[in-house]
């Protein structure tokens, strides 16, 4: 009788069905009949082993499964597009979730549409990093590329597309000065004795040790300095009496006078009510930690209530294209969203979707017309 009982107890132990008493009983039975111990040890070890998953096969099978769901129109939004949602935390608003969901839906539609639209094949792809020139003391990025590098003093700079940074004035004597055209995100090594100064066409920024973003493109409407932490002092060049001290999470926005002048010449409407310099809060993407001003550092294109005309400027640099508006109304529309891996066509389709298809576009090579 004992000989069969022991197998019941053993099977229950392996299956996690044993009570405490049964485990004790099994132990004492094994002690009585020691030869069985080897078999049981071996079987226990074998029981615990599981065939490793064939991840590649599963991946392929899941892909087919997902395609099937797409055909049925019930496919979930892929996790990649949901990433924003996880990054911005639990308290994400419905608005953003809906937008992301909508975008997933649009990309599903697109997959089908692209087959028919041969011209779409030339859709410019997202930024690459092979368009960077590095000469002594100067680094330059072309459109459609961005880069990160360390300055001789140990500070780190991320340089966005179509930008230039000259750092010939960082040297052994302790001077830390750089010249920036375009957009850069700076993480400056702290050194109270040696302030770090960034010169741009219209502002100078003096910092002690801090993390911040400077956007100073000659053809943008505004020049912006956004502070993440630390403190910076901003001086506007043609107004020697004005100094602005920024606190974390603030940004300084300066009307780009060149741009304003150019616009006037073009006989376009000039916004008259905007003060030339103003300080405002940084745009946190709904939720918590992602700041839209600096999201480009992580290769993400984010925008919060940004006029389409301004967003188009960023898209031009991001995708190395030129965008022309034939529809004045749509230029003023304010948009929010976030893109990462999408092609230009996908972005435009998504924007069209959230605008109820109020505009159309045409992509030809590097030219985009919005009408």
């Amino acid at each position: 009788m004992n000989r069969d009982k022991i197998w019941h107890l053993f099977a229950r132990k392996l299956s996690g069905e044993s009570s405490r008493d049964e485990l004790h009983e099994l132990e004492s039975l094994i002690e009585e009949d020691s030869p069985l111990k080897y078999e049981m040890d071996a079987l226990t070890q074998l029981w615990e082993q599981k065939l490793p998953q064939d991840a590649e096969y599963l991946e392929a099978t899941y892909h087919l499964h997902y395609e099937k769901m797409k055909k049925l129109g019930v496919a979930p939004v892929p996790a990649e597009n949901e990433q924003v949602y996880f990054e911005t935390g639990k308290r994400n608003s419905f608005k953003k979730r809906r937008f992301i969901a909508v975008f997933g839906f649009v990309s599903v539609l697109l997959a089908a549409a692209i087959v028919f639209l041969k011209s779409e094949d030339q859709t410019p792809q997202k930024k690459s990093t092979d368009q960077i020139t590095h000469s002594p003391n100067e680094i330059k990025t072309k459109r459609g590329s961005s880069t990160q590098f360390k300055l001789p003093d140990g500070s780190t700079v991320w340089l966005n597309a179509d930008s230039k940074l000259n750092y010939s004035k960082i040297n052994a004597t302790g001077i830390r000065e750089v010249y920036l055209t375009g957009e850069g995100f700076f993480d400056v090594v702290r050194n109270p004795a040696r302030p770090f100064i960034i010169h741009t066409e219209s502002i100078d920024i003096k910092v002690l040790g801090t993390t911040f973003n400077v956007k100073a493109y000659p053809d943008d409407k505004t020049i912006e300095t956004s502070l993440i932490h630390g403190s910076v002092e901003v001086m506007v060049k043609n107004r020697p009496n004005e100094k602005y001290l920024l606190k974390p999470n603030q940004k300084l926005v300066l009307m780009n006078e060149q741009y304003a002048a150019k616009r006037e010449k073009d006989q376009r409407i000039m916004p008259v009510n905007i003060p030339i310099v103003f300080v405002k809060q940084i745009n946190y993407l709904q939720g918590d930690t992602t700041v839209s001003e600096t999201s480009w550092v992580r290769n993400k294109l984010s925008f919060e209530d940004e006029p389409f005309a301004e967003l188009a400027k960023r898209l031009e640099r991001w995708y190395d294209v030129s965008i022309e508006f034939k529809n004045k109304e749509i230029e003023e529309v304010e948009l929010s969203g976030s893109f990462e891996q999408e092609t230009l066509t996908q972005v435009l389709e998504a924007l069209r979707f959230i605008n109820n298809y109020k505009f159309k576009y045409k992509v030809e090579g590097k030219q985009v017309v919005i009408f």
Binding site: H8, A11, S15, P35, E39, A42, L43, L46, Y62, P78
Partner: protein, 191 residues
């Protein structure tokens, strides 16, 4: 002794799918169960392709009905029962058979897998074990698979196969005795 079944993890996946439409969680769930469900189904329909199709369809209905996913207490059992029912329906359609007995299911086991690093058993012992498994009656083999590979509880196996817990208990004891005896033969020969 724990039986290492990740109930908590599965419940968490259910929650993420139901509440957040979380595709990553859905994919994880798919990865977790696809292999064992397909094997179970193939034992009924006798075709890997048909089995994969059935499992895929069950997963689609899981997604479509995700709002109610959290109401399912034992998702693993739910999936196995759904796959069983769909497989039997398919088999009936194909072969026009009226009844399908679970005792006749020729379920495949993963071969007696052992981690090459662990080397608990000699090649000879492994071969002996595989032979015993191969010659087990269908039902015994199926119970062994569900208990060992799918970490199912006796009660779940009993519900799935429409048998009593006592039968599961008994069958598994007999199987393990057979396996131990086969092992013992090689052990003793060596001494």
């Amino acid at each position: 002794m724990q039986n290492n079944h990740p109930y908590k993890k599965i419940q968490d996946l259910q929650r993420r799918i139901a509440v957040y439409d979380d595709e990553a969680a859905y994919k994880e769930l798919f990865f977790f169960f696809f292999h064992s469900l397909t094997k179970f189904s193939a034992g009924i329909v006798q075709s890997k392709e048909t089995a994969e199709e059935i499992v895929s369809d069950v997963f689609i209905s899981i997604w479509n009905d995700r709002a109610r996913l959290q109401e399912i207490e034992d998702l693993q059992l739910y999936l196995f029962i759904a796959v069983k029912n769909n497989s039997i329906r398919k088999l009936k359609q194909q072969s026009k058979t009226r009844t399908v007995s679970i005792d006749e299911l020729a379920v495949e086991m993963d071969s007696a897998y052992q981690d090459p690093e662990a080397k608990v058993l000699s090649a000879e012992s492994l071969q002996n074990i595989e032979q015993v498994i191969e010659h087990l009656p269908h039902r015994a083999k199926l119970i062994l698979k569900l208990a060992k590979e799918d970490r199912m509880r006796y009660k779940e196996i009993a519900i799935l196969l429409n048998i009593s817990v006592k039968t599961v208990d008994h069958q598994l004891a007999i199987t393990l005795k057979k396996l131990a005896t086969a092992l013992g033969a090689t052990f003793r020969k060596k001494k």
